[in-house]
Symmetry: C2
Subunit: 371 residues, 2 copies
Amino acid sequence: MSPWKAANPLDLVCSIDTPALVLDLNAFERNMQRMVDALKGHAVRLRAHSKSHKCPEIARRQVALGAVGICCQKVSEAAVFVDAGIADVLVTNQIVGAPKLRHLADLARRARIGVLVDDAQHVEALAEVASAQMVTVDVYVEVDVGGRRCGVMPGPDAAGLARRITDHPLLRFAGLQCYHGPAQHKRSPAERSQEIVLASEAARQTRALIEADGIQVERITGAGTGTFLLERDSGVFNEIQAGSYIFMDRDYCDNERAPQDVQFENSLFIRTAVLSRTQPTRAVLDAGLKASSVDSGMPLVWRRPELSYVKAADDHGILEVPEGASLALGDVLMLVPGHCDPTVNLYDEIVCIRGAQVEAVWPISARGALI
Amino acid sequence: MSPWKAANPLDLVCSIDTPALVLDLNAFERNMQRMVDALKGHAVRLRAHSKSHKCPEIARRQVALGAVGICCQKVSEAAVFVDAGIADVLVTNQIVGAPKLRHLADLARRARIGVLVDDAQHVEALAEVASAQMVTVDVYVEVDVGGRRCGVMPGPDAAGLARRITDHPLLRFAGLQCYHGPAQHKRSPAERSQEIVLASEAARQTRALIEADGIQVERITGAGTGTFLLERDSGVFNEIQAGSYIFMDRDYCDNERAPQDVQFENSLFIRTAVLSRTQPTRAVLDAGLKASSVDSGMPLVWRRPELSYVKAADDHGILEVPEGASLALGDVLMLVPGHCDPTVNLYDEIVCIRGAQVEAVWPISARGALI
């Protein structure tokens, strides 16, 4: 691990060095339980998205609470979680290139491994490596249900790919990946609902077409923290891939909530200190964009609504401070990151606190796992 | 190091796995030499900013070519470079908190260490730790010459701080930090020039005030890749803190160049592959915002001007592709990152290529050094 450590277990919270990535365990555990409660009694299982946390300690807790396993975006992430004992890992991505495919097949000896395809070439390459290494892989057809990223269009193209997969004895057609990314951050509940109604209908029709061809569609998987109740209630989806629900972030907090939406709490923070305070209306923090990713906007200052984080440089955060506000050099603040996933990816460790004490320090083992 | 490796020395470039951070050594070495040439014959020395590269191998090459040492933003970064044998390190930042100050003083036993102040409290805290550990530290007064971030205003406040520093026998008043960050990316040469004329005048007046008080101002340091010729020719600055010049990035390339400006080349790239190609006008790359920081805008596709990287998700990059353009699943592209510093900070290693071969793989040892 790194030669810079923000804290050790049993330290007091007030002694955590800055900037540090901090997890409030009570809030985190409540969020985990809220997801369990939200899916209870529904024929919908959770496959927690590990791209948000990249942390085996968290994945193990999600599985212990009933998640079927995890999903991730990269083969190297999958390797970290298989090494940590997670038995069911879905790479929610297309994989190209022989080294990655060989690595994926290696993992399939030790865990149930799934992967996405949206092109016949993906299927052929997977079939080749599965045959060479004599392993079975779960293969999902990704359907573009509105995300306009990867995926074939709903309908015959998807059905054609499903048929191709079933042609290969070591490839197991596992179902459809129907994730709608942009819908997660549509601000109004009505917009989110509209998108997921369309996505669900596209998934339903595609499933019908494949089943009419005599191929069973066991799983329709997708959804995220912003929309998962809609997929849960769609009658089509039977697996949820939420990730951010454990942490939340400023971008998710900017969504307007529907009355029935689950009230996940902010559990993830950047602990930061004021390092310069030369102007009455400005303070400079030691957490800039290398400490809190600004791809989805600036972080929020936790429980100090009068303070606005207005600009991030590499290693400096600029706060606008109302004249006369109490904020001194060396004062410590907590930030809610703009976007949790890439923020977590900036740190080696997550400092887990309960009340006034550091309870644990968890390695972010898949930090930087890009390949 | 990480269990995911993009390449090893002697590999062919075509076999580098993706996404990977790639340095074109020929272009990099030309950039280094261009900086040497630009400062030759001027009474201005280079203190290379290591926050851009975080890589001891690069710092050693900068020093070998005449840089007096490096600057960095964090005490933990300084520790990495002192460990690597860099003898003169300036932390171009204010440092608050006892653990960091103790660490800084520890480093001052092994190297010449400088640090900035913009408040009497910084001076007192440094004096205390220097006395406790019996070390000498170079202390620079940071002057806000237009950056509106850290720093006291030019004039008497700066002079007062300089006087305070000289009151402490173990603190050595080393000069003024006069860095103007926002000027680096003013798009027109006229705007950049206007800002640095003002900054230089502020530095000159502040120096005069301090020297009128009988205190020598040995060093006026600052500047970046976007403006350093202006500081070089100011007659005031005698040290340059450029960092990005070795790599360049899309944001710097967006600056309009003055005729005399040094033509640094892009040497830093993200190697990425097409993982999905379902639509004629869209391709999806395996390099998203965890592979190329988008804080300063999207990356550029190198030598494929017809392709536009229009959107970054965590692990996906969306390309707009003109109808009929040649781009297939699995094709490899090189991206010029939007902003080099935070992009480098996403990787464990930099794959150094020369021609068709990988010549070296350098650890980014200060990656994640936030404290």
